[in-house]
Structure formats: structure tokens, C-alpha cells
């Protein structure tokens, strides 16, 4: 695993990203909540630039906790955690991290264009530039005709697209997605998986961390799958999915895909 990391070309050129191309480094990370719950224990993980990493595991095994620690929403209680070459709190201030939740978290009173450009608005980016970027990302997710529509007029899949568009607007280096497609039907889910992979492949400098409890989703999307076990949350194993991109429906029905799914499922059981 660490050898595959070394093969990842270093980013280097952008300030603050760390020289190694290492986006997230976790060493012996542990998290005990104030009420005594041991959510995560002894997690070691190194995520390089351009990876697509899926986290699978039963609910309650600490997946969201790991994401929240990376995003700086909650602190870790032991070990060393570096994000974009610095602490999570500092990393957050660099506007290089974006988050997509399972719920679409759109502002119901704001039009799509205002929802999508919200991260830029908060940063004080001029309106003209905001609109241009907003149109870019809405086009990216196939919703450029819906600029002035309110979220409630959209289906669940469309709302999730908007949510992804909002995350993409600041061209993040690190995209954290916590069960984003968990509430969608299978067909919508698959088309969003295809779209997400396409977007990610356009911009191989973007690293995606993706939580799912769907092993098929993990095997389809990832370059590596992190399999977790509960109580306390630990990494059981990290599996490589070496199948090259682009991955299409052919991959979904290939024996190779079946083998990957099987491997992930087997690891989950132990």
C-alpha cells in the first residue's frame, strides 16, 4: 500500500498542500467521545493525491467520525492527524476541502444558483465571478437550465447533484462524501456514480473520500476500499481495486467486478 502511495506524483506546486502529495495522514488515530464512546481506535491511513477512497463498514463503526475529524468538525483524542500538510483546523481555512452529506443540505429558500455559489458568497467572491462558477458547476451536473429553481421543485437525485455541484465550486483538493447516495433509488444511484467518476477523472488532482455501506458502490468507484469493523471502529483491511478507469456498465457486469465485490464482502465479515 505504501509503495502504491509512493508512485503517486507529488503535487508540490500549490502553497500549503505539503510537498509530498499526501492529503491525509492518520497515525494511530483514536477518538473517544466525551460520553466515553470509543468511536475509532488505532487508525493508520495515508491518502495521496488523486485517489478515490471508499470507506465501508456497518453503521456505527466510526466512518462519519473519521470524516468529521478530517474536516475539523470534531477533534481526535489520540494519534497524529495531518490534512493538506497541516492541522485539520488550518486546512479548513484554506478552502480546499468540500463536504457532501447524505441529506442534500440545500437552503430551501435559495434558488439553485444561490445555493451552489454559497461557499463563494461566504468568502466574498464578486457576484460576476460567482455566477460564472455557479453556471459552470451546474452544467457539470447537468442542471444548467435550473439556475432559478428552488430546491423543493427537484427530485432527490437532482438535489444530490446540486449538493455535489456546490461542493465542486471551489475546485476542492479534497472532497469528503458521507453516504451521499444512500437515500437514492438504484437507477439514480448508478447514474450519479457514473457522473461522479467522470467529474473526478476530469480533475485527477481532486481526491475523493467516500463513505458507503454498499459494497457494490465501493467496488465500482474506488481505487482503494477501506474496510472497517465496529466497536471500537478499526480498519480491518485496505483493498486495492486496480481496474483502470473509465469504468462503465461493462465493468459492473464483469467477473472482475464480482471478484472485487466478493473480496470486500469477505473482509467485512471478519
Amino acid at each position: 500500500m505504501s509503495s502504491s502511495l509512493a508512485a503517486i506524483p507529488s503535487a508540490g506546486e500549490e502553497a500549503g498542500s505539503g510537498a509530498s502529495g499526501l492529503l491525509v495522514g492518520m497515525e494511530q488515530i483514536g477518538k473517544i467521545y466525551p460520553n466515553g464512546t470509543v468511536a475509532v481506535q488505532n487508525v493508520n491511513l495515508r491518502v495521496g493525491e488523486g485517489e478515490f477512497l471508499c470507506f465501508v463498514g456497518p453503521s456505527g463503526c466510526g466512518k462519519s467520525t473519521i470524516f468529521n475529524m478530517i474536516a475539523g468538525l470534531t477533534g481526535h483524542t489520540s494519534g497524529r492527524l495531518s490534512v493538506l500538510g497541516t492541522t485539520p483546523k488550518e486546512a479548513r481555512k484554506m478552502n480546499e476541502i468540500a463536504f457532501v452529506f447524505q441529506e442534500h443540505t440545500l437552503l430551501p429558500w435559495s434558488k439553485l444558483i444561490d445555493n451552489v455559489t454559497m461557499p463563494l458568497t461566504l468568502r466574498g467572491v464578486p457576484k460576476k465571478e460567482r455566477i460564472r462558477e455557479g453556471e459552470r458547476v451546474l452544467e457539470l451536473v447537468g442542471l444548467k437550465d435550473y439556475l432559478k429553481v428552488l430546491p423543493r421543485q427537484l427530485s432527490g437525485g437532482m438535489k444530490m447533484r446540486v449538493s455535489i455541484a456546490r461542493a465542486l465550486i471551489s475546485r476542492p483538493k479534497l472532497l469528503l462524501m458521507d453516504e451521499p447516495f444512500g437515500a437514492l433509488d438504484e437507477i439514480t444511484r448508478q447514474s450519479l456514480q457514473d457522473e461522479l467518476l467522470n467529474i473526478w477523472r476530469q480533475d485527477r488532482k481532486m481526491t475523493v473520500l467516500f463513505i458507503t455501506h454498499n459494497v457494490f458502490e465501493a467496488a465500482f468507484l474506488s481505487t482503494r476500499v477501506v474496510v472497517m469493523t465496529p466497536r471500537p471502529g478499526k480498519i480491518a483491511d485496505i483493498l486495492e481495486i486496480p481496474t483502470p478507469f473509465p469504468r462503465s456498465d461493462d465493468y459492473r457486469s464483469s467477473p472482475e467486478f464480482g471478484r472485487h465485490v466478493h473480496a470486500v464482502s469477505e473482509t467485512l465479515k471478519h
Binding site: A71, G72, L73, R92, K93, N95, I97, A98, F99, F101, E103, T105, L107, P108, W109, S110, K111, D114, M118, P119, T121, L122, R123, R136, E139, L140, V141, G142, L143, K148, V149, L150, P151, R152, Q153, L154, S155, G157, M158, T188, S191, L192, D194, E195, N198, I199, Q202, D203
Partner: protein, 303 residues
């Protein structure tokens, strides 16, 4: 980047119902106000008729029964006036009644406006800091339990009999529902939404302005619906106690005068007018609420 369009799964009802409303929403400056109702006016008026007719029938029957029973029993008008006595009293004194109504409206509206502005502002201050909220809010609750009638004479002493004192009494009665509702609204913002704003490095004020206040709007409006009728009650109670001062008296004052002169029919007229005023005020705020929330909040979508 290359354009990546996937099949956009449009909801079935969207093609017919929601989409035509989009241009209307776009023409409203802040986008918060609603779309024009696209449904045909024919079915709408039929709906209004079906809603309005049954209570109207009950009203007519009630008034007729009242008139007949009092007429038959021969009760004196100063003890229990008939509807016809009330109408006569109102039309004979219509000028006085109008002046009283105008005065009371002014007091109630001022008191209400003050309660909205200060109630929301105070709630925002409390919501900004949990510590402040925890240390101050209990006192706000205690203050609220003091009966306003007990405090009113002090207010008259401090602010003089008349308009000022009455407005303050109306404000005090209307203030607390706005404060508590707004505070609940501000504190019930979804955790994920707050996290999102935090992740995007929003300042405390940005979170208040762009997230928590808009999200609290349904609660604020619910508080306003309670308070608007209360402010009319407050104005009338204020007039009982503070009288007319330098101004022409409002409905409350007219009621006290009418009762001392045993002008019971006019007293009824004033009381009913006050009730109508409270209802109209409520309906206005209700309409405002629906208008503001119609496009995005569940409570107003089907109303």
C-alpha cells in the same frame, strides 16, 4: 472541463405544476417570496365559496336567533341588546367609533411592530451566545409570567397616561411569543447545515443572517400570528388603565365610558369591533406568512 450531462430525472408533477412558476419566482428580488399561484381563478373562487358559505350560514342563523329570543323575552337593551340595537348604536355613533378604531389600530400596530423588532433582535442576541441565553432567558420567562394588568399602572406612572403607555403595554403583551418563537427557530437549525457553514468558514454573523434567521422565519411568523391579536388585546387593556391622555380615546376607553353610562348596545358595538380588528390583523399576518413561506416551507405550501 467537458460537459457531463446525465439524464435529468424530472418529477412528473414538475412539468405541469411547478415549472411555469419559475419565471414568477425569478422576478421577485430576494427570491424568497413566492411564485404566483398558477391555478385557475375559477376553481379558486369555488374553493373560497365552499369555505366561506358554511360559517356564514351559521352566523346568520345565530344573529337571527339572538334577535328573536331577545325580542320575545322583552329584555331591556341596556341589559342585553339585540343585534339591531347594536347596529343602531354603531351607526348613530359611527364617527366616534371610527376615531376609536383608528386610535386602537395605531396603538396595536405600533406595539406589535415594536415587539417584532425587539423580540427578534433580542432573540438573535440570546442565540449568539449559549452562555448569555442560559443566564438571561430564565428572567425573560419570569417577566412574562407577571400579569400585565399588574404592571400597567407602573407603566402609566412612568410614561404618563395616553398613547406612550398604551403602546408599551401592547408591546409587552406581544413581545414574549415573538421572542420565544424566534429563539426556538434560531436554535432548531439543522446540525448538518450549521456544519456546512462552519466548513465553509462562515462567520458568526453570516451564519445568523444567511442560515439561522431565514431558517427561523416560519417560527418568527408563527410568533407574529399569536402576537398580532395579543397586541390588540394589549392596546384595549392599556386604554382601560391609561385612559385617553391627550388623545382621543380608543375602543377600550370607549368601552369603559359606555359601561359607566349604561350604553350597553354601543359597548357591544365596540367589543365586536375590537374582535373583528383582532381577526383582521391575524388574517393579514397570516397572509403575509403564507406569502413569505409559500415557495419553500411545508407549512405554507398547500395553503
Amino acid at each position: 472541463m467537458e460537459k457531463l450531462v446525465a439524464s435529468v430525472n424530472v418529477l412528473p408533477e414538475q412539468e405541469s405544476g411547478a415549472s411555469p412558476s419559475v419565471p414568477a419566482a425569478a422576478s421577485v428580488p430576494d427570491g424568497r417570496m413566492g411564485r404566483k399561484n398558477a391555478s385557475s381563478s375559477g376553481s379558486l373562487s369555488r374553493k373560497i365559496v365552499s369555505l366561506a358559505v358554511p360559517p356564514l350560514v351559521v352566523f346568520v342563523l345565530f344573529v337571527a336567533l339572538w334577535e328573536i329570543v331577545i325580542r320575545m323575552s322583552g329584555v331591556q337593551p341596556y341589559l342585553f341588546p339585540k343585534p339591531s340595537d347594536i347596529v343602531t348604536a354603531a351607526s348613530e355613533n359611527w364617527h366616534n367609533l371610527l376615531v376609536s378604531v383608528r386610535t386602537t389600530i395605531a396603538e396595536a400596530v405600533l406595539g406589535f411592530a415594536l415587539s417584532v423588532v425587539l423580540g427578534v433582535a433580542f432573540a438573535v442576541l440570546l442565540a449568539l451566545s449559549k452562555t448569555v441565553e442560559r443566564s438571561v432567558y430564565p428572567y425573560a420567562i419570569i417577566l412574562q409570567t407577571i400579569p400585565i394588568v399588574a404592571v400597567a399602572p407602573i407603566i402609566v406612572i412612568w410614561f404618563g397616561a395616553g398613547m406612550n403607555a398604551i403602546v408599551i403595554i401592547a408591546f409587552l403583551i406581544a413581545f414574549f411569543p415573538i421572542l420565544s418563537n424566534t429563539l426556538i427557530g434560531l436554535n432548531s437549525t439543522e446540525m448538518n447545515m450549521k456544519n456546512l457553514f462552519y466548513l465553509y468558514n462562515a462567520t458568526k454573523w453570516q451564519t445568523i443572517w444567511r442560515l439561522r434567521i431565514p431558517a427561523a422565519l416560519p417560527y418568527i411568523l408563527a410568533g407574529m400570528k399569536i402576537s398580532c391579536s395579543l397586541s390588540v388585546v394589549g392596546a384595549i387593556v392599556g386604554e382601560y388603565i391609561a385612559g385617553i391622555g391627550g388623545l382621543q380615546g380608543g375602543l377600550g376607553y370607549a368601552i369603559t365610558v359606555a359601561s359607566t353610562r349604561l350604553q350597553t348596545a354601543y359597548l357591544f358595538a365596540c367589543g365586536l369591533t375590537a374582535a373583528v380588528m383582532g381577526i383582521v390583523f391575524f388574517l393579514l399576518i397570516n397572509a403575509l406568512s403564507n406569502r413569505l413561506l409559500r415557495s419553500w416551507h411545508d407549512s405554507a405550501i398547500n395553503s
